[in-house]
């Protein structure tokens, strides 16, 4: 099963966690990205994610594999939604298991940071007041990321 998957519908997290259980793992860390009711001080009514699925799944899998090599974690995976999401819905899930907690936390953090920076997924937000738009953040200054 792939280490990074795009899901166009709500997904269950228990089976994802189950996959990461390992006799050698004493630690598990996860991250959940939820849809928030505000962005940049503006009230958000809902949002929509779209993805270039083939490239997103390839790049996402590379990120998770790289995270395992860098951190020494045993296993990790990430699932990211596309489609319409309401406030409070789960947008992205990352989990990592490792012998000890440092590697589990490190892998988990690194994966979500890299997914946000590299994977071809775009967020479209709808604001109270009627306007809406795609988020295309400016690139961070050189040297600002690890």
């Amino acid at each position: 099963m792939s280490r990074f998957r795009i899901s166009d519908r709500p997904f269950e997290i228990a089976p994802l966690r189950q996959r990461l259980l390992h006799a050698r793992a004493g630690a598990f860390a996860s991250f959940e990205g939820w849809v928030r009711d505000h962005n940049d001080g503006r009230p958000v009514l809902g949002l929509y994610y779209e993805a270039y699925v083939g490239l997103a799944e390839a790049e996402g899998a590379r990120i998770v594999e790289e995270a395992l090599r860098r951190s020494g974690a045993i296993e990790a995976c990430c699932v990211h939604r596309t489609g319409e999401l309401a406030i409070g819905e789960l947008a992205v899930w990352v989990g990592a298991s490792a012998a000890h907690r440092d590697a589990a936390f490190d892998a988990c953090r690194w994966i979500i940071d890299e997914v946000k920076a590299r994977v071809p997924i775009w967020k479209h937000e709808r604001y109270a007041g009627g306007d809406a738009g795609w988020l295309h953040p400016p690139a961070p200054p050189p040297g600002s990321a690890d």
Binding site: Y49, Y52, E59, I112, P120, H136
Partner: protein, 81 residues
């Protein structure tokens, strides 16, 4: 030499192009020139410096040659996660 390529548009580039994809005949030598042609056609509000490019499902470089039959995607700044 002309090549037939399918261009994929996402997010605000798709809004500007009015379509998710189009198939074109192009004489563009590289992906940068291919983007310039598309930009003249659709009037994108962002230039190459903010975009990445992918060919046949893998990240590519603007200087890469256009492959006949390829699927080329222009990747605006991402906002997943």
């Amino acid at each position: 030499m002309m090549a037939r390529v399918t261009l994929l548009y996402f997010a605000s580039l798709r809004d500007a192009a009015g379509t998710r994809s189009e198939t074109v005949e192009t004489g563009a030598a590289d992906l940068g020139a291919l983007f310039d042609e598309a930009c003249r056609r659709h009037g994108f509000g962002m230039g190459r410096e903010r975009l990445r490019v992918a060919m046949d499902g893998e990240f590519a470089r603007w200087a890469d040659a256009v492959r006949d039959g390829a699927e080329v995607a222009f990747i605006p700044p991402v906002s997943g996660g």
